[in-house]
């Protein structure tokens, strides 16, 4: 409990009241006392205050007026009005304009006030939690919408191509090269399959609990390269791994990250005959692992740098294996889950380097 104190701001133009409040509660709460509204806002702007108390009668601005502005600028803060004198208009204004959460009559009883503050702190936390959950829900909802939209295209498009090819081979009786059609059907099937695999990776990443496992980077990189070599044998890999220091984190997510980044490094290669090269460097340290995946491919246009991690963002890629627009999004999501970071450096026409820092959970 001591770690996260309840942060209380108390505004009163009489210093005696402020001192009495501080003396009474300094052992319980983190207390910020101010005698004017300007200082109160300075603090509210900079510190996450949970509960604001204000006296009603102050020379420049009444407590109600103060809370009206607090409600506009910091709507999450709990507002408690303290007042010695009461008339019904003040109460009406306090509720309607100041949107106060509680009304406390002076002189206050310390036990009662402590109780009020603690109860409302719980309310504050619950509201905040609700807000966070709402934001998460909103994000999930947006993703679902984009997913349905994309599914209507990316999942259907290869199927429609296949249907079209089947129809065509029925019509085209003089076709001398049936393998041409079969090859195109195969490439459509592979495209659909990679999209489905990506979606499954995405949902596994979103759901699964993070694990703490020993990571053998050499093995993960070798696995990724072995699979990708099937699609393109011309790529030259240079792998430098220094993982003598033990590294622990979630293997599934690191696998997903490596697979996607290495597959991109291969996918977005130049088509001018340049030998595609991929450099993979990994170094483990007590607190982090540093990864770098560099290619000499087409690079990323400056104007696309901000968008590449968005869901279903695609640029024009190689003709052989166009992107699905979900790979880097999954990388970013997986990194969020394990607390890693990623940086991109790219020169259009020269190549791209992804640099990652992953936290080491090994103690």
């Amino acid at each position: 409990m001591s770690k996260d104190r309840i942060r209380v701001l108390y505004l009163d133009d009489e210093d005696n009241n402020l001192q009495a409040f501080k003396a009474g509660f300094r052992r319980n709460f983190e207390i910020y006392t101010v005698n004017n509204a300007a200082d109160a806002f300075r603090i509210l702007d900079e510190i996450e205050i949970h509960i604001a108390l204000a006296d009603q009668r102050m020379p420049k601005m009444s407590g109600v007026e103060f809370f009206e502005r607090v409600h506009d600028k910091h709507p999450d803060v709990i507002r408690i009005l303290i007042t010695a004198y009461t008339n019904s208009q003040t109460i009406i204004d306090a509720v309607n304009k100041g949107r106060i959460d509680q009304y406390v009559v002076k002189p206050w009883d310390p036990n009662f006030l402590r109780n009020v503050i603690e109860t409302f702190h719980a309310t504050y936390l619950a509201r905040k939690e609700l807000k966070l959950k709402n934001e998460e829900l909103q994000k999930t909802n947006d993703e679902l919408n984009r997913f349905v939209y994309s599914a209507s295209h990316d999942l259907r498009a290869p199927l429609m191509s296949i249907l079209g090819l089947v129809e065509l081979s029925r019509l085209d009786k003089e076709n001398s090269d049936p393998f041409e059609y079969l090859q195109m059907i195969e490439s459509s099937v592979l495209k659909l399959d990679s999209f489905i695999q990506n979606i499954i990776e995405y949902y596994q990443n979103a759901r699964a609990e993070g694990l703490k496992e020993n990571i053998n980077f050499k093995e993960l990189v070798d696995d990724a390269i072995a699979v990708l070599k099937n699609t393109d044998q011309t790529v030259e890999f240079e792998v430098n791994i220094n993982d003598e220091l033990p590294f622990q984190n979630d293997e599934f997510r690191i696998r997903v990250i490596l697979n996607n980044l290495i597959s991109n490094a291969i996918k977005y290669q130049k088509e001018d005959g340049t030998v595609p090269k991929v450099n993979i460097t990994i170094r483990t340290e007590p607190k982090y692992a540093f990864l770098s995946i560099q290619d000499n491919g087409v690079g990323i246009l400056q104007e696309h740098m901000e968008s590449i991690f968005k869901m279903f963002f695609r640029t024009k890629s190689s003709k052989k294996s166009p992107g699905t627009g979900i790979g880097l999004y999954i990388v970013k999501e997986a990194l969020n889950k394990i607390g890693g970071e990623i940086k991109v450096k790219s020169v259009y026409g020269e190549g791209t380097t992804f640099e990652l820092i992953l936290p080491n959970l090994h103690e």
Partner: protein, 129 residues
């Protein structure tokens, strides 16, 4: 405005569909004059100096989708004397996409993928081809 060999351009990011559509158009005897473009931008560049009779336009394409293509087309090419009919061709089942395609004054018709010779001939026929 009926022509025996209308000039048709295909705009689609999927090479297989481009191949497929060209074959179908030729097999159906609609035209032998077909040009293919893998992106909206490449097609717009080509349109600077050429006015085809028909454009078959995909919707979902990276960098510039079919609707973005239409808005560029509207700004730069839509007031030419010789008319070009634009047909949107897509596998999309998205209600928004289909409604937008049908609502656009530039678009003659929305045609579902996979492209089917009978439907294509009928759609072109309604526009006098």
């Amino acid at each position: 405005m009926s022509k025996s060999q209308p000039h048709i351009i295909l705009v689609d990011d999927n090479e297989i569909d481009l191949f497929l559509h060209e074959k179908l158009i030729k097999l159906a005897g609609i035209s032998n004059h077909v040009d293919k473009f893998l992106s909206g931008k490449a097609a717009l560049d080509y349109l600077q100096n050429t006015t085809p009779d028909i454009i078959l336009l995909d919707i979902q394409m990276p960098e510039m989708d079919g609707f973005e293509f239409l808005s560029f087309y509207d700004r730069f090419y839509s007031d030419r004397e010789q008319e070009t009919r634009i047909f949107m061709v897509s596998s999309s089942l998205d209600f928004g996409d289909i409604s937008k395609a049908k609502a656009s004054p530039l678009v003659s018709e929305f045609i579902k993928k996979p492209l089917n010779i009978v439907e294509l001939k009928e759609a072109l026929g309604r526009e006098g081809f």
